[in-house]
């Protein structure tokens, strides 16, 4: 695995420091560097040929069985050791050094039963490898160190994603382990062109990040741009995908997420197949997809598993729910404070009737209730799961009912708040739902100042912002603006699968055609 990173050297790196030929010196150096913590295991061994050696690894990060195997192999008779430095030609460094015959690693990598083994003469590399779960073999008299891949730690099993549950479709979700995740992805995309490019970012944290894309489909400029942005990350520890997302996003002050995060491997696989780029990040189940458009938020992988009519209707429903979640409280304010003529007569009378005796103006009432709602949500997340779910229901019901009976708010307000909340839950993307929750308060403010006019102005400002917004160079409002009518096949309406012939034109993919029926294939070539 070859890593690229701007912060190749950690802050405490001692460039050029190479292991000495003395085993004791090496072990001592390692102990000094790591301050010999409890989880650092250093075992001195005597190998079959009688040579002294030491094996170092971190407890908990290595596969115990593998380690036993390694040790067995090293100590067994069969392992003939060429003390004269008959190390095979693959160790270039040793060959280059070439000053002393005793400097090379006497153990041949190919003879140790591990998947990957390599030689190293760089202390930074060695230490980092140990810290990531490799086992290092030091041999008396050899300046080279053999690094044996023995990673194997306890990780969470593949479970159903917590945030994006769907009814029909695969139930596996990403885990915190990047290897598991790449495997999940590979299992879905068996194309030889699937590329994983690894990066290691963070001066101290040293996170593995993999740029995944489908070569020959994705636009190479996009990949370049993603890689360029990743290499600009220079932070001590990008914990989780959130750091990376915020670092490489186009406009960080926008309330809209410009990178999609998901726990679902099928979503990532689908995106890669469309010609997008995915970032797999070690240590988090949330992987990133880019570039995205606004329409990505109303799309759920489920749409593709279901009948196209149903999923089109569902998408329309989600669009409506997004609008409701964004505008309903604002509209409530505008209609109740300004434009009483715009309500249907009967509704106007009955609302006026229910509001009689409510001490607060509708503006205050709305802000009060919406804030309470947000409070409930926040509290619901913090609480242990079984209670958390109940607090949503109980809190909503009890507080709403009590507030109405107490005459603090009008019943219509409670309806509005409840509908808004439900509508915002119907949005498939959590990140987008959060931005809508945020913007809702802006709309409410605008409505409080200028009524419907204010809402329109706020809407226009919002649209300008969206029109100016880009996600990795792709216009955020596509395929609506810029208008790509071909992409409308998978926009709000999802046409039958047979008709989704092309990849999204807005992504400007290298291979535009998805379905190669004979006639269509010819037409498109």
């Amino acid at each position: 695995m070859e890593y690229k990173s701007p912060a190749e050297k950690g802050p405490n790196s001692q460039t050029g420091r190479v292991p000495a030929a003395s085993l004791a010196e090496n072990v001592q150096y390692m102990k000094d560097q790591l301050q010999s913590p409890e989880d650092l295991l250093i075992k001195s061994i005597v190998m079959a040929a009688g040579q002294k050696g030491a094996v170092a690894c971190i407890d908990g990060l290595v596969d115990k069985q593998l380690k036993v195997q390694i040790l067995q192999t090293l100590m067994q008779e069969r392992l003939s050791i060429d003390s004269a430095g008959a190390k095979s030609n693959e160790a270039e460094q040793g060959a280059e050094e070439g000053d002393g015959s005793g400097d090379g690693m006497p153990v041949e990598a190919g003879k140790i039963p591990v998947q990957d083994a390599r030689y190293s003469t760089d202390w930074d590399d060695i230490l980092l490898s140990i810290l990531t779960g490799d086992t290092a073999l030091f041999v008396e008299g050899a300046k080279e160190v053999l690094l044996l891949g023995s990673k194997g730690w306890k990780s969470r099993a593949v479970e159903e994603p917590q945030t994006e549950t769907i009814i029909r479709g695969p139930r596996d979700g990403f885990t915190e382990d990047i290897r598991t995740n790449t495997a999940l992805l590979r299992r879905r995309v068996k194309d030889v062109n699937l590329r994983f490019e690894s990066f290691r970012i963070g001066r101290r944290g040293r996170k593995d990040v993999i740029v995944a894309y489908l070569n020959g489909v994705v636009n190479p400029q996009l990949v370049e741009e993603v890689k360029r942005r990743i290499t600009t990350i220079d932070i001590d520890d990008p914990e989780g995908s959130g750091y990376i997302e915020q670092w490489i996003t186009d406009r960080y002050w926008s309330p809209y997420p410009q990178i999609l995060n998901t726990e679902r491997p099928d979503k990532v696989a689908g995106a890669i197949m469309q010609g997008k780029v995915a970032l797999l990040i070690d240590g988090t189940p949330f992987q990133l997809i880019m570039p995205i458009m606004l329409s990505s938020f109303i799309q759920s992988p489920e749409d593709y598993y279901q009948n196209w009519i149903l999923s089109s209707v569902l998408r329309i429903l989600r669009v409506i729910s997004a609008f409701v979640a964004l505008f309903l409280p604002g509209l409530y304010i505008a209609l109740l404070e300004y434009h009483h003529g715009l309500l249907p007569s009967k509704l106007a009378f009955s609302i006026a009737g229910t509001r009689e005796g409510v001490p607060f103006p509708a503006v205050v009432e709305t802000f009060l209730m919406e804030t309470t709602l947000e409070l409930l949500r926040e509290a619901g997340i913090r609480l242990p799961k079984p209670i958390g779910q109940t607090i949503g229901v109980v809190g909503g019901l009890v507080i709403g009912e009590a507030a109405v009976t107490a005459g603090i708010v009008s019943p219509v307000m409670v309806v509005v708040v409840a509908v808004t909340a439900i509508a915002s839950f119907a949005i498939p993307s959590y990140g987008f739902a959060v931005s809508i929750r945020l913007l809702r308060f802006g709309i409410m403010l605008a409505a409080a100042i200028f009524g419907l006019y204010g809402i329109v102005l706020a809407l226009i400002m919002n649209c300008i912002h969206l029109a100016n917004l880009k996600s990795f160079g792709v216009a955020y409002t596509g395929p609506l603006a810029p208008l790509r009518l071909g992409d409308w096949r998978d926009f709000i309406i999802r046409v039958p699968v047979m008709n989704m012939v092309k990849r999204p034109a807005i992504l400007e993919t290298m291979d535009e055609v998805r379905i190669n029926t004979d006639d269509q294939g010819e037409k498109n070539k």
Binding site: H340, G341, S345, A352, G353, R355, L445, I449
Partner: protein, 419 residues
């Protein structure tokens, strides 16, 4: 980046200055006095204070009536306007056992201009009068008859930005305030009730299609005669919508009324029949009721020697028999044919009675012949425009011929009910 953020701060400053100074128009919805109906009565100059008091006493209990007869105003006052204001808390249908509060109350104001009356209203109401939910506008005969008053009153209800062009207009020979007090059980607002009744055309041929205030303006602008729905005998539990108030294009004021039968005739002429019953005689003894389901009207104009147009109406009505009394064998071809004849005759009678009244008595072209002429024979019309209802009064002279054909398609579930 820094420039941008500075700009945003500047923007925020301006925005917050707006925010702080904004909200001029913010009014709570429960602070609005929704006015749903307006009844315009005339103040007869001789009327004295006591009659006004008397009137306020006659309004039903549960309503508040503020007789706003300001003495000073009364001297010059032209209109006495009853505003129907909704009390929203009364609109709530809950609490069946609780004492139901009235859903509305009336305020009566006198004055010469409507805006000052609205201002007067505001002086008396805790809530600002709000007209956007105005449903019906009722003029009493006295106001409608006085020259100039009607158009003047209409102006306010068109010009004010709170008004909608779809507000229904009605004329009553009785007092408008009485009509507004109609409250049939089950309906909470008299105005809403009147609005619903006014669009009952599909059930009765004697209701003129409802007149929207916008249409009235168009008619006034064109100086053409027009009809307005008439609502009469307002009592506690019902008002009757029946008949037509005929407004003359010459003076833009009320000339007279058409009764229900004549209104039905007018509806046939104007092709505005949506349904309704026609009673017809059968022979000497028999009677039947015909239900109109569809009608088609064709009209033709022919010019006579004197250059006068003559109008031919061909009206075809299709429908079913709904009631039969002493009619033999309703299934036989012969009876059906005869019934068709009788129905046709009855309809023709209706129509002719309307024509006679309009041509001879009122001399008002509510039939919209003028429109027809201006559309189809524009050249003739532009020459004789001035002579149609004025001058030579051509309208009252033009011959109008009517032919009615009726077809009974269905005779119901039974043949005959008694032998």
């Amino acid at each position: 980046m820094r420039i941008r953020s500075r700009r945003r701060i500047a923007f925020l400053f301006v925005a917050s200055s707006i925010a702080l100074s904004g909200c001029w128009d913010r009014v709570e919805i429960d602070q609005r006095g929704f006015i749903v109906g307006v009844g315009v009565d005339a103040v007869i100059q001789e009327v004295d204070e006591s009659s006004a008091e008397e009137e306020s006493g006659s309004t039903p209990s549960g309503e508040q009536t503020n007789s706003a007869s300001n003495k000073k105003q009364n001297k010059k006052a032209k209109y006495k306007v009853t505003y129907q204001v909704v009390t929203p808390s009364g609109m709530k249908a809950e609490n069946a056992n609780a004492q139901p509060t009235a859903a509305y109350f009336h305020l009566t104001v006198e004055g010469t201009t409507f805006s000052t009356m609205e201002a007067n209203l505001a002086q008396r109401m805790s809530r600002a009068p709000f007209f956007e939910h105005l449903k019906v506008l009722i003029f009493s005969e006295a106001v409608a008859r006085r020259p100039g008053d009607f158009a003047e009153a209409i102006d306010y209800f068109l010009r004010d930005s709170q008004m909608r062009r779809s507000t229904k207009v009605m004329v009553t020979p009785n007092k408008a305030s009485e009509i507004l007090s109609t409250q049939p059980p089950g309906e909470r607002l008299p105005s809403a009730y009147l609005e619903l009744v006014s669009s009952n055309g599909a059930n009765s041929s004697r209701i003129l299609p409802h007149t929207r205030i916008g249409e009235v303006q168009e008619s006034l602008l064109k100086n053409k005669s027009f009809g307005i729905q008439t609502v009469s005998n307002g009592s506690r539990t019902y008002s009757t919508l029946n008949g037509t108030a005929v407004f003359s294009g010459r003076s833009n004021r009320l000339i007279g009324f058409l009764d229900g039968r004549e209104t039905a005739g007018l509806n046939f002429l104007r092709d505005s029949i949506k349904g309704g019953h026609i009673e017809f005689p059968y022979g000497d003894e028999g009677r039947g009721v015909f239900i109109v389901q569809r009608m088609t009207r064709r009209m033709r104009v022919s010019f006579g020697k004197d250059g006068l147009p003559a109008f031919d109406y061909h009206i075809e009505v299709q429908g079913s028999l709904n009631e039969a009394y002493q009619i033999p064998d309703t299934l036989s071809e012969k009876t059906l044919y005869r019934m068709d004849e009788y129905v046709g005759q009855s309809i023709k009678q209706l129509i002719e009675s309307a024509i006679v009244k309009l041509q001879k008595q009122y001399r008002c072209d509510v039939i919209e012949l003028a429109d027809y002429m201006s559309r189809k024979h524009h050249r003739w019309w532009s020459k004789h425009r001035g002579q149609w209802e004025r001058g030579d009064d051509l309208f009252s002279q033009v011959p109008i011929h009517v032919q009615v054909k009726a077809h009974i398609h269905r005779t119901g579930n039974i043949n005959i009910s008694e032998e």
